[in-house]
Every structure is written in C-alpha cells, then in structure tokens.
C-alpha cells in the first residue's frame, strides 16, 4: 500500500470496528486499515500485543497513524510502538485526536497520498489547542 495506514484502538471492540466501518464507507479501500479493542481477556480495555498485530495488518512503508480513545489506549499504543523493530517504530505515531472523527480525517488525508506528518496534523486539527 502506497498510502499511510490507519490503526483504530478503542477500549471497546464494537467502537473500534464501528469506527473502521465508517472509515471504509467514507474513504474507501485506498488506505490500509486495522482496528483492535478489548483487553487480553476480551473485556473492555486495550492490549499491547493486539495493537502490535493491528499495526502489522495496517502496515505501509509510508507509515501508520494510530487513533486511540482514552488513557490506557494511548499508553498501550506508545508501548506497542516502542516494542516494534526500530526502523518500523520510527514510522508509527499516535494522533492526539478524537478516535472516530480523527480516523475518518486521517484516512481521508492518507488516501490523497499525504505524508505521515501531514496525516497526523490533519487528525490533530480536531483537538483543541
């Protein structure tokens, strides 16, 4: 895939999957997209290994932008990035943006062939300064 990939991480697999559905419908298949949600037991929460797998599924040499919902999703995503091989870790960012709107905006930007920095900046325009 020649466009930046998008990963959606929510405490709830239903939210993550629903957000991914919205991205697919609004943006199409030009962007590699993966989601994960739930703790390692399947309850609400997030899981570092599941986030690492999602990054793998959405992988693009142009980079991967992660959209997260709350606290632990961000901390676990940052941990997952650090555990990637260094050449890959350098190409993955967590966006400070609302998860659903951020995913749609990031994917829209990514579908135009934008750089990882531009994709992130577009998603983060949604956050109050």
């Amino acid at each position: 895939m020649s466009n930046v990939g998008i990963v959606i991480v929510s405490h709830s697999p239903l939210v993550a999957e629903g957000a991914a559905d919205m991205v697919r419908q609004m943006v199409g298949d030009e962007v590699s997209l993966a989601w994960c949600g739930g703790n390692p037991d399947g309850g609400l929460g997030t899981s570092v290994p599941a986030i690492m797998e999602a990054i793998d599924r959405a992988w693009s040499d142009k980079g991967v932008a992660i959209l997260v919902d709350l606290g632990g999703a961000e901390t676990n995503s940052e941990m997952a990035i650090e555990m990637l091989p260094p050449d890959r870790a350098a190409k993955v960012v967590v966006c400070n943006a609302p998860v659903i709107e951020g995913a749609v905006m990031a994917a829209t930007e990514a579908s135009s062939g934008a750089s990882l920095a531009k994709v992130r900046a577009t998603a983060e325009e949604l956050s109050p300064a």
Binding site: H11, N39, P40, D41, G43, L44, G45, T46, S47, V48, P49, L70, G71, G72, E74, T75, N76, E78, M79, M83
Partner: protein, 196 residues
C-alpha cells in the same frame, strides 16, 4: 539467599497481595476511574505467577525485564505499561550498575513518570513511588519504607487528580484514594515483607 530465590519470593508475595486486594482496588477505581484496576493487576500478576520459572531463570536484570514485559503484554490497561516500565527499567539500570539498587529504583520511577507523562502530586502511583525511592535511597529500614508507602497512598485521598482518568472528575476526585497509589503501596509492602 540467591537473587533468584529472593525475586521468586518477592513476586509470589506481590501476586498474592494483588489477588487478595483485587476487589478493593477495583472498588477504588470504580469511584474515580473505570473500575478495572484490580482485575487488570490480578490478570498481570497471575500471568507472572503462571510463568514464574521461565521469567526468573535468567540473571536478575534480565529477569526483571521479562517480568515487566509480561505485565505489559497481559494487564490490558494503562497500568500495564506503567508497572511494566518500572520493572523493565529496574532491569536495564541494574544491568548497567549491578550494585546501585537505590539509583536504579530512582531512575526507574523517573521512567514511569515519563511513560505516564506525569509527575508527583497529580494523584497517581508516582505519589507513592517517589517517596519510597527517596526513603530507599536514604537507607531507611524496610518497615519505615512500608509506612512511607502506605501514608503516601492514603494522602492521595485529599489530592485533586490532574492526570489519568480520575482527572476527568475534577474536584470530585477529592476524597478518594488513588487506586494506582494503593496498588503501589501494596507492592512495596509485599516486596519488603518478602526480602526482610
């Protein structure tokens, strides 16, 4: 006693204490967080217990890193990377300076603060870990360090949360002990009890 036997005893004591207090931690977290701290910590330390032999078969620094990694992969909440970072950093520091336990603990707590983008005074586990690291660095006896930990955890009751989920509550976070501070105090107590 060897490092390995001490580490085994300490981790077993921590796992037992977390399991015994899981409901209390979850109740504290239900008041000001998302109500999963006890279950998450229990899942993590149960996973450490289940894999204890393999995790601690290496020298102490590598064993601590392996325990931290296990917590990262199994806890399922922010406390996974936070406690995971504590153990992983302790391992890294002791690999570089094997005899400097106090320095290793101090720097590992700094690493937790960096991981959580937090500092002391924000009603988090750091409000226990920093005073404990200070007391350990000042060579206070184990019983005193445990008392410092419990006093520091109890003192979070009167603090306004400015980091973590509890910060969403603003003023309403006052009046509740922070669950991460409480679990940190329990861990300090269990480790001190096992090693002394």
């Amino acid at each position: 006693m060897t490092d390995q036997a001490q580490l085994r005893g300490a981790l077993a004591a921590v796992a037992a204490s977390i399991a015994a207090h899981a409901e209390e931690l979850t109740a504290l977290d239900s008041a000001i967080g998302d109500g999963d701290h006890g279950a998450n910590m229990k899942r993590g330390f149960d996973a450490v217990s289940a894999d204890l032999d393999a995790l601690i078969r290496h020298p102490l620094p590598e064993a601590l890193k392996a325990v931290g990694m296990k917590l990262v992969m199994t806890v399922g909440g922010a406390s996974g990377p936070l406690y995971g970072t504590l153990f992983i950093s302790l391992g890294k520091e002791l690999a570089m300076a094997p005899d400097d336990y106090a320095g290793a603990l101090a720097r590992a707590v700094d690493a937790v603060a960096a991981r959580g983008k937090s500092t002391r005074g924000q009603k988090t586990m750091l409000d226990v870990l920093y005073p404990v690291a200070d007391a350990f660095g000042a060579r206070r006896p184990a019983s005193e360090i445990v008392a410092v930990a419990h006093d520091a955890a109890a003192a979070t009751r009167d603090v306004l949360a400015t980091r973590g989920r509890a910060s969403f509550l603003g003023e309403r976070s006052i009046g509740h002990v922070d669950p991460g501070a409480r679990s940190s105090a329990l861990i300090v107590e269990a480790v001190a009890g096992a090693l002394s």
